[in-house]
Amino acid sequence: MINLMLITALTLFGVAILIALVRIILGPSLPDRVIALDMIGVNLLSGIAIISVLYQTKAFLEAILILGILAFISTIAFSKYLERGVIIERKRKR
């Protein structure tokens, strides 16, 4: 029973990822795509969490944490790029 629920949840996350992918491909503006990527990252994170429950293992918890951090960082990087054109700015004074 719980297995079936977990697989269903996983499948639903997969559908969510596919929907987000549609947004990335069609998305009229770049911010749309970046947000969709962020969403994919979060969905993956949840998917990995469910998989680790399914597999009954703790081995993927680090992956979840890292993915959480990095999805955030990559979104920030994209946002910075969209706004300024550069990700890392130079210091004003050398």
Binding site: T11, F13, G14, V15, I25, V34, L37, G85
Partner: protein, 802 residues
């Protein structure tokens, strides 16, 4: 170390020491010291004459590369004796001449180093018994000749002539090397002695004919036979001593030596006979025909050398016929041709050397060697004139000079060859005496041109650069010595015949033991016979033609200039350059995408083609694990993003899609239970995305192509084919498991390495070496990026992201 081996090495050692001596003794003309070497060698070799004449030979062997059957073995017999004496004797005279000819302002050390290299190499060619060693020295003669021709390298003509001679002679040398290797494959030995002994068993071998042809190709290019004679006239840009030494007496006779040396191997075959005598005869005709139109004395002499070499070659060809018959009385008639060839070989070296030196003196004293400007020098240069007359009349075949004897013997040979009833000679035999006679008429004409145009007629002071006067006595020693030989050999030919030529005949015809086959006495007067009539005919017809030559000179203009062999050579080179540059620029477009195209096409053809050809594409899906629904979905995400990247309208979209693929792959790692890989993949994917964004900032604005990637059909087809090949290979590999996995071993990681994480124990313990190198790769990449950024700092420090 034996004396003959030393004879080869002494010139090389001398070549090494010359610069030292040159530095120590700046006042002295270095040639005086160099002169000692050939003189010494000549005397040493001459000491062997009596024993060689008794039929003894000397074989010395030193190891060089014994595992490849290459021994530094030298063999001194009658044939190599002739050449050895010519090389050292003429060499000594040429050096003596060059001492007076070249002033100390020239870079004399180079001249004598090259000359010594050449002399050593030439001695090596004639003394080597091992054909590989012979080939080494053969190429050394080509190279040293190249250096000597381009001695005045600031002249364009010298460089052209040197390059041309190198291309042609080295081309022939390579062919000869291949021929030698074929001989080795047939007989299993590199030694000429042993080859001669066992070649009889291999005459039916399919390599026999190719080996013979390649060897002859080498010999013909070196000895300037038609149509490879074209390098010799251009080689006349060399200093005159070089022309006298290399291009009349020694190097151009290396091919003749080769033919003589290999006559016991290949002689008696129809192809050998026809090629050598036919090509030789035609070269004789063509060289003498072309010589008449030359206006430069050295070019005239070059063509005359070509012609005379053709004559010697032709005689060797006729002589080889005697090997076809067993030792019967008929064979004597044809061995006489070889005897004549060897005799003329010596004669030619004497008179041609003398003539070149005289031309050099004229050039040196008058400042030109153009026969249109020369004339009336007899009164100013009586001794040079005498030498020129002796040399020219000998070349023309007039008594009382040695050329007369060899020309008579040549006529005897071509008259006899007409009656030869083998090799289809009954049909073509008549051509031999006819062509030989016509060629001799031309020879007579150009010999007269040398004498009359240079020394008789009006003296034209206004056309000459310097006031004419006789050369210094030192300069005249060498040509006068050679002229004395020319006359001396006429009066005492049998001394030469007994001591030098007979042992040489024995080495050309080792199967004929009796003296009768090897030597007949040469008599200056042999009665009124056909040969004498022919000579008288030449004298009459030649004189008439010489007198009337301005009326028939028009025939040289019948064939347009663009049809010459020189033009063929030049055009071939130009066409080859143009062709290769066209081919190269055709595929080396400079576009990376084209090169990638070649690589992928090659991959498809090589991997796919080979696997299809061997039938290795074989797979079955029976044992595969079932695929879950969420795995399908992730696969669908990867698939959709990958396709969408191709149609992305901006770079940023494709980067985002790329990120999607990366994250999806991380999920695959999770699904297939690889937590460490998943972790690393996520981190690397993020960093890569950030790096892509960094790169975009540096792309110049005008190149921001937001157009979709080129959808060329070719690219589509090739990418699909590459993908297919990859998939098929992967499937086939998966289906064809050959061995059990070795991963069982690593399951004991806890006991063996004290760690529970198998991946990490493998990375850091079982196979830590790979990890170390990967770390180094990262280090190198980091340093590379750092230095690239720093290097860029010099130009545009404003744009650094730090």
């Amino acid at each position: 170390m034996s004396t003959v081996n030393m004879a080869i090495f002494i010139p090389f050692i001398a070549a090494m020491l010359i610069p030292l001596v040159y530095k120590k003794l700046p006042r002295l003309h270095i040639g005086w010291i160099v002169l000692v070497i050939p003189t010494f060698l000549f005397i040493r070799l001459a000491c062997y004459i009596p024993t060689i004449a008794r039929g003894e030979t000397y074989l010395y062997t030193a190891q060089w590369i014994p595992s490849f059957d290459i021994y530094f073995s030298t063999y001194l017999d009658g044939l190599s004796m002739i050449f050895g004496l010519l090389i050292t004797g003429v060499g000594a005279l040429v050096i003596l001449y060059s001492i007076y000819y070249l002033s100390t302002k020239e870079s004399l050390q180079h001249f004598y180093i090259y000359l010594m290299l050449f002399m050593g190499a030439m001695l090596g060619v004639v003394f080597s018994d091992n054909i590989m060693v012979l080939y080494v020295f053969w190429e050394l003669t080509s190279i040293s000749s190249f250096l000597l021709i381009a001695f005045w390298y600031h002249r364009k003509g010298s460089r052209y002539g040197a390059r041309k001679s190198l291309l042609i002679t080295v081309g022939g040398g390579f062919a000869m090397l291949v021929g030698f290797i074929m001989i080795y494959t047939m007989t299993g030995t590199f030694h000429v002695r042993e080859i001669i002994a066992v070649i009889g068993e291999h005459k039916e071998s399919h390599l026999f004919l190719p080996a013979m042809l390649l060897l002859l190709f080498g010999a013909f290019t070196k000895s300037a036979q038609f149509p490879f004679h074209i390098w010799l006239p251009n080689a006349m840009e060399a200093p005159t001593p070089v022309s006298a030494y290399l291009h009349s007496a020694t190097m151009v006779k290396a091919g003749i030596y080769l033919v003589a040396r290999f006559t016991p191997v290949f002689g008696g075959e129809a192809v050998w006979f026809w090629l050598i005598s036919g090509v030789g005869l035609f070269t004789l005709f063509w060289g003498s025909f072309c010589a008449i139109r030359q206006t430069d004395l050295k070019a005239l002499l070059a063509y005359s050398t070509v012609s005379q070499l053709g004559m010697i070659m032709c005689l060797f060809g006729i002589g080889s016929a005697s090997l076809h018959m067993d030792a019967n009385i008929e064979a004597v008639l044809y061995t006489q041709a070889t005897f004549a060839a060897l005799f003329h070989l010596i004669n030619h070296s004497t008179f041609k050397g003398a003539l070149f030196m005289v031309v050099g003196i004229v050039d040196y004293r008058v400042g030109t060697r153009d026969i249109r400007k020369l004339g009336g020098l007899m009164a100013f240069m009586p001794i040079s004139f005498t030498v020129a007359v002796i040399g020219s009349f000998s070349m023309a075949g007039l008594p009382p000079f040695n050329g007369f004897l060899s020309k008579e013997m040549f006529f005897t040979a071509v008259l006899h060859v007409r009656k030869l009833d083998i090799f289809a000679m009954d049909t073509f035999g008549i051509l031999f005496p006819v062509i030989a006679w016509i060629a001799s008429c031309f020879t007579f004409i150009y010999c007269m041109i040398i004498v009359w145009q240079t020394f008789f007629g009006p003296y034209r002071r206004e056309k000459l650069e310097r006031k004419s006067r006789e050369a210094s006595p030192g300069m005249l020693i060498a040509p006068v010595t050679l002229a004395l030989f020319v006359v001396g050999i006429f009066f005492f030919p049998n001394v030469l015949g007994d001591y030098i030529l007979k042992p040489a005949m024995a080495s050309v015809f080792p199967s004929f033991q009796s003296d009768n086959y090897l030597r007949q006495p040469i008599s200056p007067w042999h009665g009124f016979n056909t040969e004498l009539m022919m000579t008288i005919g030449i004298l009459i017809i030649g004189t008439l033609l010489y007198m009337s030559r301005r009326y028939w000179k028009g025939i040289y203009n019948l064939v347009p200039d663009s049809w010459t062999l020189d033009n063929l050579y030049n055009n071939t080179l130009t066409q080859m350059e143009a062709g290769s540059s066209f081919i190269t620029s055709f595929y080396m477009t400079g576009y990376l995408r084209h090169y990638l195209l070649y690589m992928y096409v090659f991959f498809i053809l090589a991997v796919g083609g080979v696997l299809v050809y061997t039938g290795a594409f074989d797979f079955h899906m029976a044992n595969d694990a079932p695929i879950n629904s969420y795995e399908w979905m992730i696969a669908g995400v990867v698939f959709t993003s990958a396709i969408a990247i191709l149609f992305a309208k901006s770079r940023l979209t494709s980067i985002i899609l790329n990120g999607v693929i990366g994250y999806a792959i991380a999920v695959f790692f999770v699904l297939f239970r690889a937590p460490d890989l998943a972790l690393t993949q996520i981190v690397v994917e993020t960093v890569t995305t950030a790096l892509f964004l960094l790169c975009f900032y540096f792309l110049p604005p005008w190149r921001k192509e937001n157009a979709e990637p080129r959808s060329k059909r070719v690219n589509l087809v090739i990418s699909i084919a590459v993908g297919l090949v990859f998939i098929l290979v992967a499937l086939s590999v998966k289906s064809g498991k050959l061995f059990d996995t070795i991963a069982v071993y690593f399951e004991n990681a806890d006991e063996l390495a004290g760690g529970n994480n198998i991946v990490n124990t493998i990375l850091a313990d079982f196979r830590a070496f790979d990890t170390m190198l990967e770390v180094i790769v990262l280090l190198i990449a980091g340093i590379g990026v750092f230095s690239l950024i720093r290097l860029k700092a010099g130009k545009g420090a404003e744009k650094i992201e730090d």
